[in-house]
């Protein structure tokens, strides 16, 4: 479970101060599939970075699984991301010199698994995203949709508590986007907590809850009753 209390984030560039998040109070329960929506610049990605401990809030509290983020050191946050979070980036963010299998195995190796065990888990994760036949492919040899599925496999291979996705379909055609959302739905149905940022209504509707943000504030928080 994630809880935020009066969360703010302000960017300061010289003399220019830009408040991006303005007092976000939010609770996301385990097993929820949440879409965060909003127009460009509304603050949805900034909120995702806060929730996933990639950025520091200006003020307010974030409590994840009972731990207050303010009490965590940088190393602890890194370990938390490694062990408890999975992250899917908009532009796939695969390492170009690593094969699909190696990309997926990276966090597992960092968790201390030996190479054989890491590769076995990575293969299973790739099979879950229907890429068992592309394990040896380098990112440059994969289509955009395939790369995003590898990115998802990397995010879930270590069975994280929460899967974060930042506009995962933004760079994909409709067919690939539908395939990605189908995979997310499968994971959600299997009990995975998913927090996804998107600006597309259609894709957001795959979630069970849609939080809309505008000008750094939550303007609507709707359960779709799935």
């Amino acid at each position: 479970m994630i809880t935020t209390t009066n969360l703010t984030r302000t960017f300061i560039n010289g003399t220019v101060t830009t408040p991006v998040l303005r007092g976000i109070d939010l609770t996301i329960d385990s097993g929820e599939f949440v879409s965060i929506m909003g127009r460009s610049g509304a603050g949805k990605s900034t909120l995702l970075y806060q929730l996933s401990l990639l950025d520091e809030p200006t003020s307010g509290e974030i409590v994840i699984e009972g731990v207050n983020a303010r009490t965590m050191s940088a190393d602890e946050k890194s370990a938390f991301r490694l062990n408890r979070f999975g992250f899917v980036f908009q532009d796939y963010a695969l390492l170009p010199e690593l094969t699909a299998l190696e990309n997926v195995a990276m966090p597992l190796l960092m968790q201390g698994l030996d190479k054989k065990a890491a590769y076995e888990k990575a293969e299973k994760a790739l099979a879950k995203v229907h890429l068992a036949h592309r394990v040896a492919g380098l990112p440059s040899q994969l289509s955009g949709g395939e790369q995003q599925r590898v990115s998802i496999a990397r995010a879930v291979a270590h069975e994280p508590g929460i899967l974060f996705a930042d506009e995962p379909t933004a760079n994909l055609d409709n067919e690939s986007s539908q395939a990605i959302l189908a995979i997310f739905t499968e994971f959600y149905q299997a009990g995975q907590t998913i927090i996804m940022v998107t600006h597309e209504e259609e894709f957001a509707s795959h979630a069970e809850r849609i939080i809309k943000i505008d000008d750094g504030q939550i303007v609507s928080d709707k359960k779709l009753g799935k």
Binding site: L54, S78, L82, L95, E97, M106, L109, G112
Partner: protein
């Protein structure tokens, strides 16, 4: 313990990343970096090796042509080695000695064209060291004979014949100096006049030797039997004895034994190293210092090269470094990956450099020494010293790879992912 195992895990992940980055990087870029490291290695070892070898060539030549391994010479306040017979007996009885050659040595004035010279003409003269040798024992100890450039060398029974060092002849050393004169129009077969003390003797030039050892190049050689008569020394006492020791024997051992037998009371006993003139020792120290300076510059160039390579590599991959950190890969593991890559470049460059050095350069220069004006330069690169330099190169490279990696890794994770400054 936990920290230790964490570091080991980071190193393991770093190695995993480094190997894959190296394996799948552009082969031309990798080759270019390794090529730079090869040049750096050669700069580090060869430049200083040649500088040292330049002097070493002179030292070796002096040992090979003049002093041999141990030189016994007259005390500074004596004209010759007294009781030479006893000294020779001691030397002859030493099992460490391979061979030895006694020599007579006296200052002489050489003069040419004295028959045709008009009274108002300047005499055609040169000062020389006249050296009386036993040709066969000399050949067993030194290789002066191999440096003959004209005519033939002194043989047993030769009479009224001399072999001249090339510095005594103007055609080999065209110097115009009132302090240093050479003989003009003198070649093999030319008759010259020698004045030793009060004795003047007409001799024929039998041959000319050319070396880069001043003691040889400024000498005139004749048979010892004739020189004994010329200087009026019939007691068998000589001026110096060059001793060649057996392979694997330290010349200092022979020197010490001779001193132990009391030879030091009648003669100066020196190894070839002891006998080096001070200026040569100073030059060795100077060139070693220069070699260190050049090596340090080479190291600095290597460090800067690797720093730039890794910095550019890391800065262009900043987004991926951010992503790695974002998914929980530790900064230390990422730093390790760059350090391992740096070490790979240094090791690969050094390995290729070693093959080039010991497989090609060193044997080639040994077979064809570099023709410096005062020595035949060789390449001095002892294996132990080379490996020390490789160790230094790898250490410097490691540091040069670590620093830029750390600079980039320490940047804010989100800023790296988003490409913000």
């Amino acid at each position: 313990m936990a920290r230790h195992s964490h570091t080991a895990l980071n190193a393991k992940v770093g190695l995993f990343l480094a190997l894959r980055q190296l394996r799948r990087s552009n082969p031309w870029t990798t080759s270019l970096i390794i090529f730079v490291m090869v040049l750096t290695f050669l700069n580090l070892v060869v430049v200083s090796g040649i500088l040292v070898g330049l002097i070493q060539g002179a030292v070796d030549a002096t040992r090979e042509k003049y002093t041999s391994d141990v030189i016994v010479s007259s005390l500074s306040d004596k004209e010759y080695i007294e009781t030479t017979g006893n000294v020779l007996s001691i030397i002859d009885a030493m099992p460490e000695v391979e061979s030895f050659t006694p020599r007579y040595r006296e200052s002489a004035r050489l003069e040419a064209n004295y028959k045709t010279r008009r009274d108002d003409e300047k005499p055609n003269t040169a000062g020389a060291q006249l050296v009386g040798i036993d040709a066969s024992s000399e050949h067993a100890v030194t290789s002066i004979r191999d440096n003959l450039v004209e005519g033939s060398f002194i043989e047993a029974g030769d009479y009224d014949q001399v072999v001249l060092g090339h510095y005594l002849l103007k055609q080999y050393l065209p110097i115009e100096s009132p302090a240093f004169t050479t003989l003009e129009d003198v070649g093999v077969g030319t008759k010259i006049r020698m004045r030793v003390g009060d004795v003047t003797k007409e001799v024929t030039v039998k041959g000319i030797v050319k070396t880069k050892v001043d003691e040889i190049s400024l000498s005139a050689f004749m048979s010892d039997s004739q020189m004994r008569g010329l200087i009026g020394r019939s007691d068998g006492n000589v001026d110096e004895i060059a001793i060649k020791v057996k392979d694997g024997i330290d010349p200092a051992v022979v020197r010490d034994h001779l001193l132990l037998y009391g030879v030091g009371n009648v003669a100066k006993v020196q190894t070839f190293e002891d006998a080096q003139p001070k200026f040569l020792k100073d030059m060795i120290a100077t060139f070693a210092l220069l070699g260190t300076v050049f090596s340090s510059l080479g190291l600095a160039v290597a460090a800067i090269t690797i720093f730039i390579v890794i910095f550019i590599n890391a800065i262009t991959r900043r987004k991926f470094i951010g992503i790695l950190k974002g998914i929980g890969i530790s900064g230390q593991a990422i730093e390790f990956s760059y350090v391992f890559q740096s070490i790979f470049y240094a090791v690969a460059g050094s390995a290729i450099g070693l093959v080039l050095l010991y497989g090609l350069l060193s044997p080639a220069i040994a077979a064809n020494p570099i023709d410096f004006p005062f020595s035949d330069g060789i390449l001095v690169a002892p294996l132990g010293e080379t490996f020390t330099r490789i160790g230094i190169l790898i250490s410097v490279t490691l540091l040069a790879g670590y620093i830029p990696a750390r600079i980039i890794v320490r940047k804010n994770t989100l800023s790296s992912i988003l490409g913000r400054n």
